[in-house]
């Protein structure tokens, strides 16, 4: 920050904007919750929430929608971080919901879609009125249209054609009972901004974001780990190579990328040079159709 010029760096600007959003929600909405997956974006969110209310603790719990398809490194990270911060963790469990009959396993084994009803049930049960999510507009074209305060009706649905205009830094958080707001403090961040911030703030992230040796196999041009959620089919052969994860989602359909980036500096270099978006490179769930994300969001997805 060059104080004498009264001009903020891009990271300071983005941080100030996000902190403003966190405080605005805490001031205006009754029962917020922060969605925390253990992924890098939600880890950055946690840091920003910590900063926004310092020296007081952040005034809301965190929630993990647990698909049961987890990378063990991520789950372990989640529990450690939550313990360090002393915040409450709410877990909305998909396996549990399957057992109770709330949702049914999909034929392809992916739990991406069925986590939505589980999320919505938890929101209703805990009467959460605002959910902080780590989604960024640069991730995906439907997200590029989404507001920082994204209104959801009492079915949790997003109506992209009927969004509230958002001007200056004035956010409209007014809702009726049963409705909610999804709040995206990282809206204006890019993948590279997130990594620059992780570097600047020396934020720890799960080890799978850095290059490591893993047994993988190739499917649809992507590298999947050979683990209990995802086994090679006939004709797919496994091999050990150096990979890292750019995104962390459902372990059954999140792919790794070949990479030697084993430090934050090297990851930044790699992200700056890459010619593929993080979702395009690693997410089977977005490949369903042109509007896969828009359709899922309308149903109440993150």
């Amino acid at each position: 920050m060059t104080i004498h010029e009264y001009q903020l760096s891009q990271l300071d600007y983005l941080e100030a904007e996000a902190v403003h959003v966190f405080r605005e929600v805490a001031a205006e909405l009754e029962r917020p919750v922060l969605l925390f997956s253990g992924g890098k974006d939600s880890i950055v969110m946690l840091r920003l929430a910590e900063k926004a209310f310092w020296p007081a603790p952040m005034p809301f719990p965190v929630m993990h929608v647990d698909t049961g398809h987890n990378f063990p490194e991520v789950l372990e990270f989640r529990d450690r971080r939550v313990a360090e911060l002393g915040v409450n963790l709410v877990v909305a469990s998909v396996p549990d919901a399957i057992e109770r009959g709330l949702v049914a396993e999909e034929p392809n084994g992916s739990r991406n879609r069925i986590q939505t009803p589980v999320l919505l049930e938890a929101v209703e049960k805990h009467r959460f009125s605002a959910l902080f999510g780590g989604a960024r507009r640069d991730e995906e074209k439907a997200r590029a249209k989404e507001r920082v305060f994204s209104f959801r009706d009492d079915f949790g649905q997003w109506d992209p054609k009927n969004q509230r205009p958002e001007l200056w830094n004035l956010y409209n958080g007014r809702i009726h009972l049963g409705e909610s707001i999804r709040v995206f403090p990282l809206s204006n961040w890019t993948e590279l901004d997130v990594w620059h911030y992780i570097q600047r703030e020396e934020i720890a992230v799960p080890s799978i974001y850095y290059a490591h040796q893993r047994e993988v196999f190739e499917r649809d041009g992507m590298l999947f780990a050979n683990n209990e959620f995802c086994r090679p089919r006939e004709g797919e052969t496994t091999f050990v190579t150096t990979v890292r994860y750019r995104t962390v989602g459902d372990a059954s359909l999140t792919a790794a990328v070949r990479s030697d980036a084993d430090t934050v500096e090297k990851v930044i270099e790699e992200v700056a040079a890459t010619r593929l978006t993080e979702r395009g490179a690693t997410r089977g769930d977005d490949r369903v159709s042109e509007a896969a994300m828009e359709d899922r969001k309308k149903e109440g997805y993150f």
């Binding site: 891009q10 983005l14 405080r23 209310f53 310092w54 590029a144 054609k161 001007l167």
Partner: protein
């Protein structure tokens, strides 16, 4: 590296999507998978060329209808700056979207087609840019390749636009001749137009001086959230969190808290990373005061000799954003800085024709996308400045109390 937010206005016909596609492509912000997806869609539709507007038109309805409905935000960076583009649709039925995109912009690019010159739409866009007080305006005269790179054509448009702009409040105008399709004067100076001595568009975006656009004179700190840790170590700690809206705050400064009018001094300005010497817009900080005063969200910290108006009678230009019209007698919720109140629409002074700038003082209501001058009476005083003096303390939104929808955006012209 700093950050520049800019809005683009124009329609597909003006080559806006091509321009944005070009900026993103040349700065390597378009990724292979995005481009492949666009190429696939273009081929399926039987387009003759890859339609770059598909990159920004993200909603199903937009792709089906081939129009931009909503503001889309795009991101790219060069070694000098990070850029946030608010890509706004150009047609009159989307005035509210352009107003939304312009509200946070440091700069706006208005596109015109060199063959057509200034049209009604260009005037409207320039007017909205000035109404929203976007500090820097760039007129990009596009499709110069189709007028044989003619200096005469360019200068004619430049002259016409400049004389129109003098009627508006445009602090900084730059006019650039470009060809978005061929990349002339986008990243580097074009060999096709040696007569043009100004910067390329990207060079201008990278170098335009924005540090002095912010109001560093009038101290304005809207209290957003009171921080009181309920812990044994910090039993007496009480501080006020917010985002600086104007001026420079320093520890030791004498300040006044509105609306109470009490004065005290700043004991310290804090962040989670430690104390800061000075705070200015748009920093989010926490302010501790020397005396214990009753302060809550919606109050404003300023200087004793430089205060905003404490006003319940508000005159403002309002852009109406709802299907149901605005008319005198209506009651609405208003949100101004961190303060919420109710407002009564006392009077509609005139409706402005955004194309001709003609004031219709016989108008009885404002319809969707209309702009007009309105007088409001609020239930509690607002701590307000003229919008031309400060965009943060001069802007407000209006909310329908029944539907909770944001139905209007206001820019204060006077408050008493």
């Amino acid at each position: 590296m700093d950050l520049l937010r800019f809005a683009t206005a124009g329609s597909v016909d003006d080559g806006k999507s091509t321009l944005i596609g070009r900026l993103l492509f040349d700065s390597k912000a378009i990724f292979t998978d995005q481009l492949e997806s666009v190429e696939r869609t273009s081929q399926q539709r039987g387009d003759e060329y890859t339609d770059l507007s598909l990159l920004t038109d993200g909603l199903r309805a937009e792709r089906e209808q081939g129009i931009t409905i909503d503001v889309a935000y795009r991101y790219f960076a060069t070694p000098r700056r990070k850029f946030i583009i608010a890509d706004t649709p150009g047609h009159i039925q989307y005035t509210r979207n352009m107003v939304t995109g312009a509200s946070t912009a440091d700069l706006a690019i208005v596109l015109v087609d060199a063959r057509k010159g200034m049209v009604e739409q260009s005037r409207r866009h320039a007017f909205l840019v000035s109404l929203l007080r976007v500090p820097h305006l760039v007129l990009a005269v596009n499709k110069m390749d189709l007028v044989d790179w003619s200096q005469e054509v360019f200068e004619g448009i430049e002259k016409e636009f400049s004389s129109f702009a003098t009627k508006l409040d445009v602090p900084d105008l730059t006019v650039v001749p470009i060809s978005a399709l061929h990349g002339d004067n986008i990243v580097s100076r074009s060999p096709n137009m040696p007569w043009y001595e100004g910067p390329s568009l990207l060079h201008h975006l990278e170098h335009v001086h924005i540090a002095s656009d912010r109001n560093l004179v009038d101290v304005r700190f809207p209290v957003q959230y009171v921080i009181r840790p309920q812990s044994l170590q910090r039993t007496d700690y009480r501080a006020y969190a917010g985002q600086v809206a104007g001026g420079v705050l320093k520890a030791g400064d004498e300040v006044m808290v509105l609306p109470s009018g009490f004065t005290t001094r700043i004991a310290g300005i804090e962040t989670a990373d430690g104390p800061v010497g000075e705070a200015f817009a748009p920093m989010s900080v926490t302010v501790r005061l020397e005396d214990e005063i009753d302060i809550s969200r919606g109050d404003m910290i300023c200087r004793p000799h430089n205060q905003p108006a404490v006003a319940q009678d508000i005159d403002a230009m309002v852009c109406w954003m709802a299907e149901t019209p605005l008319a005198p007698g209506q009651k609405l919720a208003i949100k101004h800085t961190t303060r919420s109140a109710r407002a009564l629409v006392k009077e509609l002074q005139y409706r402005l024709d955004v194309n001709s700038l003609h004031r219709d003082d016989t108008a009885t209501q404002l319809g969707l996308n209309d702009i007009g001058r309105v007088r409001l009476r609020t239930t509690v005083p607002l701590l307000a400045d003229e919008y031309r003096r400060n965009r943060q303390t001069g802007g407000f939104i209006l909310i329908d109390e029944a539907t909770n929808r944001t139905v209007g955006a206001g820019m204060i012209t006077s408050a008493s």
